[in-house]
Symmetry: C2
Subunit: 116 residues, 2 copies
DNA sequence: TTGACATATTCCTATATGGGAATATAATAG
DNA sequence: CTATTATATTCCCATATAGGAATATGTCAA
């Protein structure tokens, strides 16, 4: 089997750096395709393709206005990533105060208390 | 150009569901390859390959003990994902209280204060 | 209608899988 | 040394890109 499609889920969709850039831009507000093209210095067809992927996984929505197509971020679609990631938060938040380390420290301090 | 390598960065590495499963398992504690194979019902070569990817991006570390190779999670390596994701948090945490909405609400409440 | 602008789609190619099967390597027991 | 256990590596294949180039589609203006 080959690698899963980028459209199979949000994790695959955001694996591509340029798609994350597009999302970051859209986080500041709705943009027409050309707005993205200019802001991020990408080629128009590539942007349209990336937007297609993002749309398919629900990360963006579109609406037409005249000849422009305005893309808008749908941040909610990122929640699965956040949900998966949250339990790992402990590993870097105060990374040197992980539970096991704290326990060891507590032990040695207890020992020190006795000897000091 | 083809898709970036799964070993190019953490985002690509965690795009594969089975690799996330492996990480989830290792989050509970160090495991030998066969421990993972049994726990997750995967084939040994596949597990070794996935571990190779995870190791290359720094998500796991290994140490040998006898004939076993014990893999351990290195959660710190997930921080880039968390960092990228955090600004989007507002979109789903109290998703109906997004900043723009809050501002509107504040405005109308202010108006109400005056009238009440 | 015709032209110009905005975006989407198609075709092509090089590349990187992920799984299966078979095999190689490493380490220990006897 | 030899068999066994534990893991890694190699080969092969089907598939899905991501980018470039060219072109199709859509929409509005005159």
């Amino acid at each position: 089997m080959a690698r899963a499609a980028t459209t199979s889920d949000v994790f695959n969709a955001i694996a591509e750096p340029q798609r994350r850039q597009i999302l970051d831009l859209l986080a500041k507000g709705e943009q027409p395709v050309n707005g993205i093209v200019e802001a991020l210095q990408m080629k128009q067809p590539q942007v349209s393709k990336h937007l297609g992927v993002l749309k398919e996984v629900g990360l963006v929505t579109v609406r037409s206005e005249g000849r422009q197509r305005l893309y808008r971020l749908n941040g909610d679609a990122l929640q699965p990533v956040y949900t998966w990631l949250t339990p790992y938060e402990q590993f870097w938040k105060e990374s040197h105060d992980r539970l096991d380390v704290l326990l060891q420290k507590a032990q040695s301090e207890k020992a020190n208390d006795k000897s000091e």
